[in-house]
């Protein structure tokens, strides 16, 4: 398998699309993090009492914004990199000369994961541009590293899913379209779950407008009432579990790290374990599938 990895990594290093995406991500992350950090300082919004480094204006609130974008970039790279193996027929060269399918699959998975981790690194390195504006992370360097580890794990888990899809759909164009649509779909599912879980239990916004005996308009705040959009238990727990298990859910939670409301949604240990479980499960399924697949 060492030979296959060596060949794959050489191809990865020469892959122009890969480096283009990495540079785009790095630039996007750097610019958006710096820009968001500046906006946060200049316009703190409803949190008027912000103190830099302790309140909402901490690097965590802007540094992880690009997570969902990484989840769109990984399938572009994975589908192109692995799709070439099937469309150019070079997969045959590996099998014909006596490499086992298991080794070929694992080498492909490891290479795509490595590519994803480089994207992840580009994202985090770019986001450091927020530090000169906002100071160090609220959770400290160690806390930041834990969040980076969490993001690395969900990137690898997502790579495992995409690797399986790339070995099932062998048409390069079809797999590229499917994987990008799939990535957008899981981000939408994650976003839906996150927003649903943020709904407050009671709604108290709004006022009633009435006219009193003197003909004056009277505004009366509406008394708090149950919010019909609120997700009750046990559905709430299920939503939380799914949100923390999905790579897209984890990316969305990470993008909203500084929000006080999400603190109760985040289950970091469970999320990390889920990423590992997803990686293992999809890799095993992929290996079993690829071992039996008829290639052309």
């Amino acid at each position: 398998m060492r030979n296959l990895l060596s060949a794959n990594f050489c191809r990865l290093l020469k892959n122009k699309l890969f480096w283009f995406l990495t540079l785009c991500l790095l630039a996007w992350s750097a610019v958006s993090s710096y820009d968001n950090a500046c906006n946060l300082i200049n316009d703190p919004g409803p949190y008027g009492d912000i103190v830099i480094g302790t309140g909402i204006a901490v690097p965590e609130s802007v540094c992880f914004d690009s997570g969902p974008i990484v989840l769109v970039i990984i399938p572009v790279f994975a589908s192109m990199f692995l799709g070439t193996e099937f469309s150019d027929g070079t997969m045959r060269n590996k099998i014909t000369v006596g490499n086992t399918r298991g080794h070929i699959y694992l080498a492909n998975f490891i290479t795509v994961s490595a590519g994803s981790l480089i994207f992840c690194a580009a994202w985090h390195i770019g986001s450091l541009s927020a530090l000169p504006v906002l100071g160090l992370w609220r959770a400290g360097v160690f806390g930041w590293l834990l969040l980076v580890l969490k993001s690395a794990l969900f990137c690898v888990a997502f790579s495992a899913i995409l690797c399986l899809i790339s070995h099932i759909i062998t048409n390069k164009a079809a797999v590229a379209v499917f994987e990008i649509v799939f990535a957008l779909a899981v981000i939408m599912v994650g976003s839906f779950l996150y927003n649903s879980l943020l709904e407050p239990e009671t709604a108290s916004n709004g006022v009633t407008v009435s006219t009193n005996e003197n003909g004056e308009t009277v505004l009366e705040p509406i008394a708090p009432h149950p919010n019909p959009e609120y997700i009750p238990e046990p559905q709430r727990s299920v939503y939380k579990r799914i949100l923390n298990a999905l790579p897209s859910g984890q990316a969305i939670l990470l993008a909203n790290t500084a929000d006080s409301e999400k603190e109760q949604l985040d289950q970091p240990l469970y999320a990390c374990c889920s990423s590992i479980a997803i990686t293992a499960a999809f890799t095993v399924v992929g290996l079993l599938h690829f071992n039996r697949k008829d290639l052309k």
Binding site: R2, N3, L4, S6, A7, C10, R11, K14, T84, D88, G89, T90, M91, R92, N93, K94, I95, T96, V97, G98, N99, T100, R292, D294, L295, K296
Partner: protein, 301 residues
């Protein structure tokens, strides 16, 4: 005789469609084995099985005596190279980069021999030109060069001259002959261009409906395709007596037909037959080619 490849009752089904139905074959060491069959006969399916791209539904094959069910078949495959259908090359790489990539896949310690390989297939002057800008013939030759990485002694080529211009066909033919003669590489080659195959092959396998219907050597085929006169008479025994008297080689085909492997004076033959009380019905000159042999064999359907 040593066989590089043998197939024993090989079956392959795709759903209800049977691509191979109990196919048997023997590829002798050092041979150029021409696999002949019409579209859908099972040639490419057979090659895919041999290359490990697909697994047989039933039956097995051996490579260098190692059965396809054995885990050691993976090692045996390291002695083979293949070009299945289209050449398997990275289109965004140059010829040299493609070969280097295959060297890495094989785990070869250095890139020694790449320039010789490029020279062998006539791609030494392609420089940094990407394979996507290559002509079909150049891609085909690059595919063969990749298959030759690691010095295999068994080369499998599926339709290697498909779509090539006459010059390309000649180049590929000469390359295959050189590999076989100079490097003693056994070649299994499938092709629709029978006239081309007849210039190369030392052995033939005729495949139809997923079965091997005939296997024979080039000598046997030559004998079967010998130039002859097919003579139709009213009494074959009388013809036999006349031909014995003339001292020529012949083969009685039926009660009224015989093939004569010599040039005869038809008037003299007719007179001799008349003396035996036999009439000469017709005389046709036959010069059977690989193509007509194949058509006769598969029934021309």
């Amino acid at each position: 005789m040593d066989y590089v490849l043998t197939a024993n009752s090989l079956y392959k089904s795709y759903g209800s469609f049977k691509a191979l139905c109990g196919l048997n074959m023997r590829v002798p060491k050092g041979a150029i084995y021409g696999l002949i069959g019409k579209n859908g006969a099972g040639k490419t399916t057979l090659i895919r099985l041999i290359c490990g791209l697909q697994n047989p539904s039933l039956g097995c094959y051996t490579l260098y005596g190692i059965g396809s069910n054995s885990s050691k078949i993976v090692k045996a495959r390291r002695r083979m190279g293949a070009v299945v259908e289209t050449p398997s090359i990275y289109l965004d790489m140059s010829a040299e980069e493609n070969l280097k990539e295959q060297y890495r896949v094989l785990g070869l310690p250095s890139f020694e021999g790449i320039s010789e390989l490029l020279e062998l297939v006539g791609l030494e002057n392609t420089g940094k030109k990407k394979a996507k800008n290559f002509s079909l013939g150049m891609r085909q030759r690059l595919g063969i060069a990749i298959a030759l990485c690691g010095n295999p002694d068994f080369l499998v080529l599926d339709e290697p001259v498909n779509g090539l211009d006459p010059q390309g066909i000649v180049e590929i033919r000469e390359l295959i002959l050189r590999l076989n003669r100079e490097k003693n590489i056994t070649v299994l080659i499938s092709s629709h261009i029978l006239s081309e195959l007849s210039k190369l092959a030392t052995h033939y396998g005729f495949i139809d409906g997923g079965r091997m219907i005939k296997e024979l050597s080039a000598e046997e085929l030559d004998a079967a395709c010998r130039k002859c006169m097919r003579i139709e008479v009213t009494k074959a025994p009388a013809l036999a007596r006349v031909l014995d008297g003339m001292g020529v080689e012949y083969k009685i085909l039926s009660e009224t037909e015989a093939d004569v492997f010599a040039k005869l004076n038809v008037t003299a033959l007719a007179n001799a037959l008349a003396a035996e009380g036999c009439e000469l019905v017709s005389v046709t000159e036959r010069d059977e080619s690989l193509e007509s042999y194949y058509i006769n064999l598969v029934g021309g359907n």
